[in-house]
Point group: C2
Chain length 144, copies 2
Amino acid sequence: MIHARTQNRGRPYGPALERLRAAGLRPTRQRLALAKLLFEGADRHVSAEVLHEEAQGVGIRVSLATIYNTLHQFTATGLMREIVVDSQRSYFDTNVTNHHHFFYESSGRLQDIPAEEVRVARLPGTPAGTRVSRVDVVVRLAEK
Amino acid sequence: MIHARTQNRGRPYGPALERLRAAGLRPTRQRLALAKLLFEGADRHVSAEVLHEEAQGVGIRVSLATIYNTLHQFTATGLMREIVVDSQRSYFDTNVTNHHHFFYESSGRLQDIPAEEVRVARLPGTPAGTRVSRVDVVVRLAEK
DNA sequence: GTGATTGCAAATCTTTTGCACTAAA
DNA sequence: TTTAGTGCAAAAGATTTGCAATCAC
């Protein structure tokens, strides 16, 4: 019989650890815990404040400064993406594939729009000396 | 001969005053001065800080708090529009017609893209109970 | 005059920083 | 060990607010 600790179903430590490893980030206690919150489950849109509260709620002891550090490291290593929809607060998205967003103005909630569902026919050429780093489409929604 | 004060070429006090009147804003000294800076000339993209410095530079005595108040009042009355491209700073646009933007990531500069030059084919229906208040397309540019 | 507007300074909010402490390798 | 990472509190930057003074009507 195999010892529980070595009973390896292909994911000995879970995908969170692997993601951090792949991103070249040392898997510390807090990064691992945050990665689990963020990546195990559906795609998410979080602000630093919300993620901090959620972490506290689940018993993860982590400071707000570390939340910011972590979100920025995850963004810098391509694990997450920053979305700009509110000039007062930063949002981060666990979906790093090409896509767009619905933004509910009243609640501040974000919802993905798959890239295929938006066709942007950009006629103007990009200015000389520049290249397009990203095209963001935000459909702002108000209550009817 | 007509007195200089009444020599009216169709714009007795200039369009700035008329704009404020039309927007229902009392034409105070600082609102008038800011309106002239903003609306007499080509369309502009300003941040509160930049507008404040520019005003000071031209000898307009106005506090930063009033700059913020004014930009928000102008936005609330439809004289300007807020553009969200940077989660740390607010930008306001004097062009309130339907259009989009190039955003130079390195300099923070904005450039209009006429609405006709971008075709957004939005296939997903808007969620129930909501209506589209605006569709923003931001083409982020990096240096080549 | 009277109520709207302004300026100033203090307050608030989000995000960053400095630095001693802790933990991963 | 050695070095990266963390927490905390303080700092920084953007924006808002409270309130007395000022201005438009």
